[in-house]
């Protein structure tokens, strides 16, 4: 049969964003796949070398549109580590709550993408609607729906507004009450099983070798989560489970996402109860005179897609000398995707790609 070269994206239905894959196909079978990032390259890491420590704070969130909070969190953590800034306890609780809320909203977005790609439009719309309810919460807390610009070095930017705790609880209850509907329509739907089972299967050994983290690794049975391995914020003070599945395929990954959302909601309720009173921000030095002593830091958090790391070097100046992000989508979207697409069918490209939860802007930073 004749070999063909096919371009999947960047303008393609079912594509995750400004990203493309070149497929070498023989009939319906993919012989080789090459992921092409770069359509969304905005040079963030370089730009950050030219902006002061505080000016970088509104920018990091833009690296990942879907879940900006984990980006803000790693940046704040790295600056705090380099400059030796303490964070008030209440701020740590708020940060944790915000991170978990954003995990839920990010997973809902992922569910939208996946369900939409498979053709389950009803569920996709529900997920989008429920994500919007969480964005409403973010809007009230931070003043922004998408770019929260909220977690900053020294704590968080503003305290909870009045009655915000109850709003979180009410919103999460109303989303939670729809879980049976989600299950009926999507997770327990035989069509989903048939479409996702065995697709994009990766073994635990391969996943580890290729550097997979997050639900890609957890779907192979490995209980690896930065929140447990290297707890940050108040993850060491709150009790939670790490959901896993054994098969390492798209079906398992989506189920892990579902279980994680539920676990996060439980965690938020626990955090809201345990949250202490007090200040939420320790002032950082005057931004026009803020120089951070020489040093380097690597910090990592568990984003909704896996390990998100930030390596930052300070040369004792008012700007970082070097910034490098280790983003989960980079590993999942380039290395693992190329591997999983080998021998897959063309119809499964989107299925595999979205089940890996690849966020294109995160690859190009």
């Amino acid at each position: 049969m004749r070999e063909l070269e096919l371009y999947f994206g960047p303008q393609h239905l079912g594509m995750v964003g400004n990203f493309s894959i070149t497929l070498k196909v023989e009939g319906d079978r993919i012989l080789e796949a090459q992921a092409n990032p770069g359509y969304l390259h905005r040079g963030f890491e370089k730009l950050m070398e030219y902006r002061t420590w505080i000016q970088n704070f509104p920018m990091v969130c833009r690296i990942n549109v879907i879940e900006p909070d984990s980006m803000e969190m790693v940046y704040a953590m790295a600056v705090e580590k380099l400059a030796g800034i303490e964070v008030p306890e209440r701020a740590n609780y708020i940060r944790t709550i915000v991170l978990e809320l954003s995990r839920v909203s990010s997973h809902l977005f992922g569910l939208w993408a996946y369900a939409n790609m498979l053709g389950f439009d009803t569920v996709a719309q529900w997920a989008m609607y429920h994500r919007d309810l969480i964005l409403d919460l973010f809007e009230e807390l931070t003043g922004g729906r998408v770019y929260h610009i909220y977690i900053w070095p020294g704590g968080v930017r503003r305290d909870f507004p009045e009655g915000f705790k109850d709003k979180i609880v009410n919103t999460l209850h109303s989303i939670g009450s729809c879980i049976p509907d989600y299950d009926n329509t999507f997770f327990n739907n035989r069509l989903f099983y048939e479409r996702a089972k065995g697709i994009g299967k990766i073994t635990q050994k391969e996943a580890k070798e290729l550097g997979a983290t997050g639900q890609v690794l957890r779907a192979t049975g490995e209980k690896f989560d930065i929140r447990k391995v290297e707890p940050y914020a108040v993850y060491d003070k709150v009790d939670f489970e790490i959901p896993t599945r054994e098969d390492g395929d798209a079906y398992s990954r989506i189920w892990v996402i579902r279980d994680e959302m539920i676990e996060s909601v439980h965690m938020i309720f626990k955090l809201l109860d345990a949250m202490p009173e007090g200040s939420v921000y320790n002032k950082v030095p005057n931004p026009f005179k803020w120089k951070i002593p020489k040093g380097e830091a690597y910090v990592r958090v568990e984003s909704s897609r896996g390990e998100l790391g930030l390596y930052m070097v300070s040369n004792g100046e008012d700007k970082p000398y070097r910034v490098h992000f280790r983003t989960p989508s980079y590993t999942h979207g380039l290395v693992i995707l190329e591997k999983l697409l080998k021998n897959a069918s063309i119809a499964d490209v989107g299925n595999i790609m979205i089940s890996l939860y690849v966020i294109a802007p995160e690859i190009d930073r």
Binding site: Q55, P58, E139, G143, T185, F187
Partner: protein
Amino acid sequence: MDKGSIFSPFKSIKYLFKKPKTLRYPFEPKEPAKRYRGLHLNDWDKCTGCGNCADICPNEAITMKEIPEIKPKPEEGMKNERPRVDYGRCCFCGLCVDICPPGSLRLSRDYLHIHFKTDTFNLLAKDEKLDKEHFLPAKEYSILKASLSHRKEDNEGLVSDLKYSLFEPERVPMPQVKPERRRLSFIEQVIGYNREQAEREASRCLECKLCEEACPAHLKISDYIKAISENKPDESLKKIFEDNPIPSICGRVCMKYCEDACSLSIRGEAVAVRWLKRFVADSIKDYKTTLELKIAKPTGKKIAVIGAGPGGLSVSYFLALKGHKVTVFDSLSGGGGMMRIGPPLYRLPIEAIDKDINHIASLGVEFKFNTTVGKDILFEDILKEYEGVYLGIGTTISRSTKVKNADRCILALPFLEENKIGKGVKVGKEIIVIGGGNVAMDVAREALRLQQIQYPGEKTVTKMVSLEDWEIMPATKEEIEDTKAEGIQFNPNWGPKEIKVEDGKIKGLLCVKVKSVFDEQGRFRPTFYEEKEMLLEGDMVIEAIGQGSDFSFIPKPFFEKLEFTERRKVKVDENGQTSIPKLFAGGDIVNLNLDAVTAIADAKVAAEGIDKILLSNLR
């Protein structure tokens, strides 16, 4: 794992009968949250034009635009610039809000602007107070027309909050001797910052430079404070000396116009500019080795300076650097002029003054102390002998109230002088000080200390009488607070009428209630309720109601040629030259500020003027 069923989705069929959740925008508008970060609002009355918003903006979206209609007020720290936001660049992060020292810049909950012309995306941020045309009440507002020029009234979003501001509104407290202890002796009240405190305080400065415009001598305040924050006092001293050669004196007694203009003082405390200057001056033992001044080749020109006060010292320093030979005449036994006799020891010790003077002397300036011009050396001889003469004589005569028996009072300046560089005055147990200015405060506080020393353990009282009420008292707030804290009684709004004397002894001061201090034109013309009298008991009265200048050493033919302004000040041109050629003047006899830093500013002008005129003679 359960494979699921193809029938299970049918359980969700109930949603078909539910109301859709989709918002029918714009017919059902969504109200943005209270903290929404939308288009900017700016209160022009509060905005100082400091430009911190433009400096912090990560996208350079804000530029400061000059507004000709606004009158700049440098002494209040008000520029005539206001931020203009380019919404092609703005990312709505709100850092500009969190850095805004007056809190005038806010974000609103408006967020819509659609236009095919890109130049409409620039907005000179205003608010409904100023721009009634574009900010509309809810009734007239329509979301369908929403844009930068169709906005809603009372629609504040993210606003500044001092708790979360990017600057530190509170000053590093200055260690001071407690009032109970300091009133017992002449110990210096302000202890001074240590290195760590100074660094911390200096790092509060936002570098907006409003202070530099307010300072009469335009010191490079932002630069020297930055050097302190970077732990480089040497560099800081060099910056200070570019404009001010007497930092040890000024670091203690400056009137600190800079701090009044500081943008942080609007909602917090100003950066302690004066104390930071003092820290630099005190922390460097030897100015000369640190400064490494380059003195120009000797020009052979001789300049005389009459009066070794702040102005005289500064003019000699600047002229000495230019290679001229400067001789300073002063009737006192040391330099500093009014600084030597006026500010009490607890504020300005003699060593602090001599540190600055010794440095200036080390540059080759010749000081002739104990030399009274007009007596020991004639004014006309000086004018003949020297190529240029600078008159920095200040105000040296205390004024008297001239009420009945006023000749029994002691005047402020002789009192202060005797206590600072003389043997000290024998004081009474119940002292009355007339006046409400800074000198009166000094006198009262000094009198209190002398009482404590001369009558230990006995009951003594110090009272103050001033025409002015609390709000218009000419002394600085800080000074009044310190004076109060030391236990001095105030009697504001009373005017002196007569010193009561019985059997040759002072019995007290008869006062009358003040009706008003200034007339309708704002001129000083006090009126009284003659019937409302009060007798303040006391055995000593000191008058501290102001000073005048003594020109008696200038011979009549010269004095007649000397021109004065309407406010009885010596008239000088842009070079600091008076109407008599070769004769330059500055300081209290020229300006209305009557303080050291303005004298330095005058001296800078005169030094340039003298140098320019001498050089033109060379050619």
